[in-house]
């Protein structure tokens, strides 16, 4: 049986790219800003792979667009925003996630009904 951390890590690994697309769909963001947005929604990446390689992959696949702009009082940062292709990928990914989540909920709900008095 996988540990709770290990299972969380595996679950997150499959959807972290979707989470990043969702975060930049809200508005353009640079790397650390995305980390903060994820954390604000209760998703910490401590112990997980970094988001930077994943952002590199999204950029390579044309799912995000980048541009440089000055940040608040800091050096110019590389901002990411979802491209059209990224928006379509996000919509498709959310549909897949919900479908998988509902199926798992249905199975786990069945067990829950048997276990709970």
């Amino acid at each position: 049986m996988a540990s709770a951390e290990g299972r969380r890590s595996q679950l997150l690994r499959g959807v972290l790219d979707l989470c990043l697309l969702a975060v930049v769909e809200e508005g353009p963001a640079y790397g650390y800003e995305m980390t903060k947005r994820l954390r604000a929604r209760g998703l910490s990446i401590v112990g997980e792979g970094s988001i930077y390689p994943l952002l590199g992959r999204l950029e390579r696949d044309g799912l995000v667009e980048t541009y440089r702009a000055a940040s608040n009082g800091g050096p110019p940062r590389k901002y990411y925003r979802a491209s059209r292709k990224g928006q379509r990928a996000l919509a498709a990914g959310m549909s897949e996630w919900r479908s998988a989540r509902d199926a798992v909920d249905a199975v786990l709900g069945l067990v829950d009904a048997e276990v709970q008095p």
Binding site: R13, L16, Y30, G31, Y32, T35, R39, S44, I45, V46, G47, E48, G49, S50, I51, Y52, P53, L54, G56, R57, E59, R60, S71, G74, P75, R77, K78
Partner: protein
């Protein structure tokens, strides 16, 4: 923080990531880490598990961005030629080892070993006429020559190769049980080294033909 970025830079340089791209990634990373530090956020919150392994983190990021140039054709050809040369050399070593194992068998009782490879099957003398005394004299002379030839062969130095006029080949091996080197053991070692080397070279050839180290680094993901 600076040490982490320096390690990343070294890795990007090793992977031949173009300088402008490496500088850009390093600048972004430095700005993010500085901001995180100012807010009291640990590097692990920003970099995840990559914080403890800068080289792997840097390689993974560069690979995902597809900024690692593929090895040039000449470099690939040179590497392939080297592998082929190593394969040929190791095959030769294995063949020499096998020959020594076969020819210098440890149960040879003679102090020295001379191996005669078979001569082509054609006659060495052609008899004409029916003059028996002449025939007997020729036979005696032939026996004397054979004796002299045997003496000559026994006096050949160790390691000599003698090619006879009739096409036969004589190999004179050193003592199989001499006080110095055990030829059979040396042959066995060469054979094993050669075979293991050939197998390893072929595996390496197979691995490099499928992309090798570059392919491995590209497969690293977040």
């Amino acid at each position: 923080m600076n040490q982490f970025i320096e390690e990343c830079r070294r890795e990007w340089k090793r992977l031949r990531v173009p300088d402008p791209v490496a500088n850009e990634m390093a600048a972004d990373l430095e700005a993010d880490l500085k901001e995180a530090e100012a807010e009291g956020t640990s590097p692990h919150e920003v970099l995840g598990s990559g914080a403890s392994d800068p080289r792997s983190f840097a390689a993974s990021w560069a690979a995902e961005r597809a900024v690692i140039p593929p090895p040039t054709l000449t470099a690939r050809l040179r590497r392939r030629s080297l592998i082929h040369a190593a394969l040929a050399a190791l095959t030769l070593i294995a063949a020499i080892g096998a020959a020594l194992v076969i020819f210098a068998s440890p149960d040879a009782s003679a102090p020295t070993t001379a191996i005669r490879l078979p001569a082509p099957p054609y006659p060495t003398s052609i008899w004409t006429g029916t003059n028996m005394p002449e025939r007997a004299a020729l036979a005696r002379r032939e026996a004397e020559l054979a004796n002299e030839h045997a003496v000559f062969l026994s006096q050949l130095p160790e390691g000599a190769v003698w090619v006879q006029a009739n096409g036969g080949i004589v190999l004179r091996l050193p003592q199989a049980h001499g006080p110095g080197v055990e030829i059979h053991t040396v042959g066995s070692i060469l054979l094993i080294v050669g075979i293991v080397g050939v197998i390893l070279s072929m595996l390496f050839l197979l691995w490099s033909s499928r992309g090798g180290a570059d392919h491995s680094s590209r497969r690293q993901t977040a």
